[in-house]
């Protein structure tokens, strides 16, 4: 091995602690890039392949009841390639060996042919062949321990019927499966049932008709015009508004995840690479300064500028290689954890949750580039240093009298304090970047603790302030108000309140949005909507309350008027005034007064949902009774929703908080440790001189520790500001039509972030301080610099 390369390896070994501190920060960037970008690609590719293979529809619609003869007209819409009509409906399922009921969404399978679109994949058993057979989605079967041959009882159109499970399937329509009214997937209590069409049609009285249709389009046709044409065709038959893939529930959850991964891949890694580049620049700058005479020597020996430049770039390259190694290992592990998390939420038939090799290559290339850019200035300086000058000791850094010096003199500061302040002001760029690094660490801690605070707020708002009912009973169609009295007589029911649900399109000028509208009785106590201040709100007659994000999307504020085109009820279009905005973290809701709506539709008072509170001891009796109620299509047990939400969130938050904390500590250590090491190296003579002059170890340590901690302290306000920006960005990035996070930053969050980072900074600088004790005073004074 050439001697110059041996020098490289020995230098690298000597610098291992500093190299490691930088490599760890770089590794964060590599790992996050690998995980976020790799997973984003994997998820996107997996989904595309799945959709392609199983012919996932491009446009979807449902209607109350449309004749099959309409299908020809639908097929004639320009650009439509295939049409698949189905009959669907929800049913309460009586689960064998369990008191708690479940809700099944029943989908018809075409007779005598395979489905053209949304083709289910058989995972076990076979598809149903007789009217009393069903295939169920795999996760539902797994969660409930079903095997082909097991029997469940379904309340179909008011009649209880035993259904034999013949097989388990997966479907591109249900990558993410969430039941009506639920906030999180719960595979125990919500399942998809595929049944022969004749059986479903008979159960829901849909002979010769359909209520659900999917279309596929050719690649050149945009969905917009097809959606409009389909709406026009379905309108007379109670069309509920057609929508494209982007609004399909399962797909939009996958979309939300992909968007989050992509924004994570775009935002976080550059921060880490930026810090790494700065650290490399700082350390390489110092190394080149220290090796000044060696550089001169190499030149005197006949090494070219390019060879010398390369020598120092390779040193940075070795740091990058270390970082890449750690980053790849951590990233591969993180990707595996992520894949397990996805396996829990998303149901794909095949797993391409493998980070592609080229993503590894890209992350390594970026890391190498980062280190090279960081080292470039120093390497070029080494290359361009005139040899004759390099052989001479460097000129002492120039200090000048500034206003600060006069202020320091006036303040009669001690000499060590003056040394600290001069050093900070003499290298303002370095000081600023050190502070910036520490500030980023503060921001990272804030981001981590923010998540758990925000989710606490979400849980409190969603489950303890807004949705206070123990269960929701969902009816197949609107019932007279008197149905509430029947509900009140069910075993265990203590309180009952009714609501009516409708589907509508809200329009304001060019903005429009399809949303569910909830019509409520004033003073409802079990299901409340809250203002931003947390006060319960009721919509006055003629008014409508909008979820904050919905109002923002439609560019509406209280006092404005909005056009409401109902897709259910009397399907009329009305104008309502926006009477307020509602703080809401799940979905985009709109709320009106129940009596006002009934008046508008000219109908007797009706409800479609009953909210109840329950006596816990009679739950089993209640479930038994529910399974026998003919018009009931669904129940949501809020206690299980709360539990599954809490469990899932808790687990994710613990992981995320841990990851962010670790990241913050790594950044702090990287910045503070390297800063202190460089300082010690620059000041070894100075500090040794102080010791020789009779300063104590503590006094000398003060100079070293003081500068780093001063910069760390100065970084705090910036860190808080950055933390706020980051959390705001996260709130924006996280926000979709499906859910939103509140921006919760309390004093404790700021304090905690500062304490964690200051402690990490102090720890790192104290590690360096130990070297002061080992300082050989005589040797240091002899070293020529």
């Amino acid at each position: 091995m050439p001697a110059i390369d041996r020098k490289l390896l020995r230098d690298f070994r000597r610098l291992w602690a500093q190299a490691l501190a930088i490599a760890l920060v770089l590794a964060c960037g590599v790992a996050i890039l690998l995980t976020a970008f790799g997973m984003y690609r994997a998820l996107d590719d997996t989904r595309s392949a799945y959709y392609e293979r199983n012919r996932f529809g491009d446009v979807f619609a449902s209607a109350r009841r449309a004749p099959e003869s309409l299908l020809r007209e639908i097929g004639d819409i320009p650009g439509v390639l295939a049409v698949e009509a189905r009959v669907t409906g929800d049913a309460i399922l009586d689960m064998p060996g369990r008191a708690e009921t479940a809700v099944g969404r029943i989908l018809s399978l075409p007779e005598a042919r395979a489905p053209r679109l949304n083709i289910p994949i058989l995972r076990a058993g076979r598809l149903p062949e007789s009217p009393s057979e069903v295939a169920v989605n795999q996760t539902f079967a797994l969660a409930n321990g079903f095997q082909p041959g097991d029997v469940i009882e379904a309340n179909l159109g008011g009649r209880k019927r035993p259904l034999t499970i013949t097989g388990t399937v997966l479907s591109p329509e249900f990558i993410y499966t969430i039941g009506p009214g639920a906030l999180m997937p719960d595979n125990r209590t919500f399942g998809i049932l595929w049944m022969r069409r004749d059986a479903v049609a008979a159960a829901f009285d849909m002979g010769g008709a359909f209520n659900d249709v999917s279309l596929s389009l050719d690649a050149r046709t945009p969905p917009g015009p097809v959606i409009e044409a389909l709406d026009d065709l379905l309108d007379p038959y109670g069309g509920l508004g057609a929508f494209g893939r982007d609004k399909q529930l399962s797909n939009s959850f996958v979309d939300a995840e992909i968007t989050q991964l992509r924004s994570m891949a775009m935002i976080l890694p550059p921060v880490f690479f930026g810090i790494s580049a700065f650290l490399v620049a700082m350390v390489m700058g110092r190394i080149v300064a220290l090796e000044r005479s060696q550089i001169g020597l190499l030149k005197a020996l006949g090494y070219s500028n390019a060879e010398i430049c390369l020598h120092y770039l390779m040193l940075a390259g070795l740091i990058a290689v270390l970082g890449i190694g750690i980053g790849w290992t951590a990233g591969t592990w993180m990707a595996r954890v992520m894949a397990q998390l996805y396996a829990q939420f998303f149901d794909f038939p095949f797993l391409i949750f493998r980070v592609e090799l080229w993503v590894y290559a890209v992350s390594a290339a970026v890391a190498l580039l980062t280190a090279t850019l960081g080292a470039l200035r120093s390497a070029l300086r080494a290359a361009l240093l005139p040899p004759a000058i390099a052989m001479q000791p460097p000129a002492p850094p120039r200090f000048r009298q500034t206003l600060l010096d006069r202020a320091m003199a006036a303040a009669r500061l001690s000499q060590p304090t003056v040394m600290i302040l001069r050093s900070v002001t003499r290298w303002p760029g370095r000081s600023a970047l050190t502070s910036l690094g520490v500030a980023l660490a503060v921001a990272a801690v804030m981001t981590s603790t923010f998540m758990s605070d925000a989710l606490d707020r979400v849980i409190d708002a969603a489950f303890f302030q807004s949705n206070r009912q123990d269960a929701m009973l969902i009816f197949s169609h609107d019932l007279p108000l008197s149905a509430l009295e029947d509900v009140a007589r069910l075993p265990g029911v203590r309180q009952v309140e009714g609501q009516q649900y409708h589907s509508a399109i809200l329009r304001n000028a060019q903005y429009e949005k399809r949303v569910p509208i909830e019509a409520r009785l004033p003073g409802a106590d079990l299901s409340r909507v809250l203002s931003r201040q947390g006060a319960p709100l009721d919509a006055p007659p003629g008014g409508i309350l909008l979820a904050e994000r919905l109002a923002a999307q439609l560019h509406l504020a209280p006092g404005d008027t909005v056009e409401v085109a109902f897709l259910s009820g009397d399907r009329g279009t009305y104008r309502m005034h926006v009477s307020g905005v509602v703080q809401q973290y799940f979905g985009l809701g709109a709320y009106t007064d129940l009596a006002y709506l009934n008046g508008l539709f000219r109908q007797s008072p009706r409800i479609s949902v009953a909210n109840v509170t329950l006596d816990g001891t009679e739950i089993d009796a209640l479930h038994a009774a529910i399974a026998a109620i003919p018009n009931l299509t669904g129940t949501v047990m809020m206690s299980s929703t709360r539990r599954s939400f809490r469990e899932t969130i808790q687990q994710n938050v613990v992981v995320m908080t841990g990851v962010y904390m670790m990241i913050a500590v790594l950044i702090t250590v990287g910045v503070a440790y390297n800063g202190a090491r460089v300082q010690l190296s620059e000041r070894a003579r100075e500090l040794a001189s102080l010791r020789i002059l009779g300063f104590s170890r503590a006094q000398v340590s003060y100079v070293l520790v003081g500068e780093t901690m001063l910069l760390a302290l100065l970084a705090q306000p910036l860190g808080w500001a950055l933390g706020r920006l980051f959390t705001e960005a996260m709130v924006r990035g996280f926000s979709s039509d499906l859910y939103a996070l509140p921006l919760v930053l309390n004093t404790a969050a700021y304090t905690r972030a500062s304490l964690v980072v200051l402690a990490a900074a102090l720890g790192s600088v104290l590690l360096v301080r130990r070297r002061l004790d080992r300082l050989d005073l005589v040797a240091v004074m002899k070293t020529r610099e």
Partner: protein, 238 residues
């Protein structure tokens, strides 16, 4: 030495001006000097008299501000950076006052730094043997005395079989005994390989071992004397 000597270096009206914060410093002005093949020349003079500046210019480490410098038929003053690097690599060996060894490399590896890039080098161990350090080849600089370190530096300088050896205060950091060892090594190289050797020193006694002595004063050459007889390094009174 005869009158018709083979000239290695020629300088004509060489000047060097440094810009400093406080103004210009004239390190060299109007230096005319010829150095001959195989000679052992000593440059004498007080600090700041311009000796090192001239040595650096001859060695291709620095450029003259004015005037011209030739190495044999090649003009150094017109050369670009790449040319000077090539020139140093192929022709010049340097020895410095503070040895300038790479601390992370052993004696052999320090020599190898040169043999890795030179055209026709001798094996590193041979170079070390020439300065009497064969047994110390695997030691790091921190494990050697100042004299040993300087001899490693000499081994490193001669390993490429240079035509010229430029030594800036090679004994400046050494005591008399080790200083003499170093001078003996230089004399040995000069005698054995006919390497043109230029030595800068503060120590006027060292002049007695030279063929020629060139005295510097305030950036120019004051006086050039030839020694009729040379003494051995061991005879030098330190």
């Amino acid at each position: 030495m005869t009158a018709r000597r083979d000239t290695v270096f020629r300088t004509r009206d060489v000047g060097k001006v440094y810009e400093t914060g406080g103004g210009q410093v004239h390190a060299l002005s109007g230096v005319n000097l010829d150095l001959y093949a195989g000679e052992f020349a000593v440059l004498l003079g007080p600090s700041g008299s311009g000796k090192s500046t001239l040595l650096n210019i001859l060695g291709g480490l620095d450029r003259a501000t004015s005037g011209r410098v030739w190495f044999r038929e090649t003009e150094l003053t017109g050369m670009n950076d790449r040319g000077l690097t090539r020139y140093r690599r192929d022709h010049v060996g340097f020895v410095f006052q503070f040895y300038n060894l790479v601390p992370s490399l052993t004696a052999r590896e320090n020599v190898q730094l040169v043999t890795d890039v030179a055209r026709d080098p001798m094996p590193p161990d041979e170079a070390l043997a020439l300065v009497g350090l064969g047994p110390r080849a695997d030691h790091f600089p921190s494990e050697m005395s100042g004299g040993e370190q300087q001899r490693v530096a000499i081994a490193r300088a001669i390993a490429k079989r240079p035509e010229i050896l430029l030594c800036d205060e090679p004994t400046g950091a050494l005591d008399s005994q080790t200083g003499i060892q170093v001078l003996e090594a230089l004399r040995e190289i000069n005698d054995r390989f006919g390497t043109t050797t230029v030595v800068i020193t503060h120590n006027a006694e060292i002049r007695k071992m030279a063929h020629r002595v060139i005295r510097f004063q305030d950036g120019s050459i004051g006086e050039v004397t030839e020694n009729a007889t040379r003494i051995a390094p061991s005879e030098i009174a330190w």
